[in-house]
Subunit: 245 residues, 2 copies
Amino acid sequence: MTNGDDRLAPFFRRLELRDKISEEERAALTRAFETAETIPPQSYVAREGDRPSKSVLMLSGISCRTRTLRNGERQIVALHLAGDFIDLHSFVLKEMDHDVEALTACTIVRVPHEELERITERLPHLTRLLWLLTLIDAGIIREWAVGLGVRSAVQRMAHLFYELLTRMRAGGLTSDNTFSFPVPQTTLKDILGLSAVHTNRTLMDLRSRGLLSWEKGVVTILDPDRLRDEALFDETYLHLHRERR
Amino acid sequence: MTNGDDRLAPFFRRLELRDKISEEERAALTRAFETAETIPPQSYVAREGDRPSKSVLMLSGISCRTRTLRNGERQIVALHLAGDFIDLHSFVLKEMDHDVEALTACTIVRVPHEELERITERLPHLTRLLWLLTLIDAGIIREWAVGLGVRSAVQRMAHLFYELLTRMRAGGLTSDNTFSFPVPQTTLKDILGLSAVHTNRTLMDLRSRGLLSWEKGVVTILDPDRLRDEALFDETYLHLHRERR
DNA sequence: CGAAGTCTTGAAGAGCTTCAATACGCGTGG
DNA sequence: CCACGCGTATTGAAGCTCTTCAAGACTTCG
């Protein structure tokens, strides 16, 4: 990636939120990335069973990790936003155990695994930060699992929207509790583990109670405090604080 | 930990399953661990909000990660067996976002975070392996989330037992498809996200169909193939193959 | 303007939860 | 050795949440 390019800004913002990064670290990362590409909605970034030789960082758009069972049932196990490293996992795990799919058009940059290996050999602090990013993802899926296990449909949906608000805000992707979320309810259903019908009814419920609106792909959280309470939301798992790591 | 001590064997076995480790790496790890301790059942290894200065490796017993919501609902988000590093996470994340609880008496050893930091500074390959261990945990919770989202109660329970069989076997903790699992059904309920009553009924179902037995804390998988099919189980997510990492 | 996808609503039914009661297993004390 | 008590397991029955099936409305786009 060429120098002076600031398309990586959302990613560095993500990192800086958790710890200070040095000029050397920033330069090493910038050098490691290839040029940006755009991929269309519904395209796959990686498929289960693949052995990618590069990892992918998202500069814009929304993508998801998804598992499809033999019986055709599908569960989305992560949502990725601008600035997220979407399959840093594959650098360490080697084989993909799920699919990664673009939900909207996405701008991505790839980084060869050899470059990541070089980073782990030379820049231990940066390595720990990359490790951190993967563990934050793990924390998010843990919290989703809690929701799928013990939260009701309404709580689960409230939690998802409040999490999105928090993550979008941290990434500078909101204004006035409004953010772009241009996906169909079918996608929501696969995140929440609900039927399409009940997803719709649950959404209508949140809307009718004035907690949020969602029209033409734009979500507005109308009453953040009530939504958070409804969701039993606790932001600890997002690890949004800066510390020496 | 004193030299020549082979209580770390189950842990090294876990690592060796995924990649070759050098003598230097093995020595560095062995030195890093403190002396073993035993902790009683139901005791907490770490609590949500804690900022541990050491990470914990389990040499024997069964422990779990668990999240309790404000309304008292509880979900278990991981099970750890002998040889598992149970909160390597805290080294990178710093603050605990869930509890870690011993389900049985456990033998544990601790490793100070400064030692782990030293490892990341000097031994990049070993660092990648430790990173790997945390990502395998993340893969397991992803698969649990899939179960909580789209698998039925029977499929989910079948999946749990088949996963345990596979993990226990990989850790050398089985003989003839039998392994020790001395926890009450109440614990199972918190793993599966079911009520106590339905957990019991689901278990009775699996038993009556001759898929498994579970008496006095000992599980025997009577028909592994049918159990695996029932569970829609696919072991990719356990990453049990050895590769250059 | 028509067609395809998405959203919304109604109604019946399944899976799971809740409430309630009984049975079992095990350690303790009489 | 039996009686008691407590935690765990099991079973019955009613009820609620969510699913499934089905139909109609809205939206977007050629």
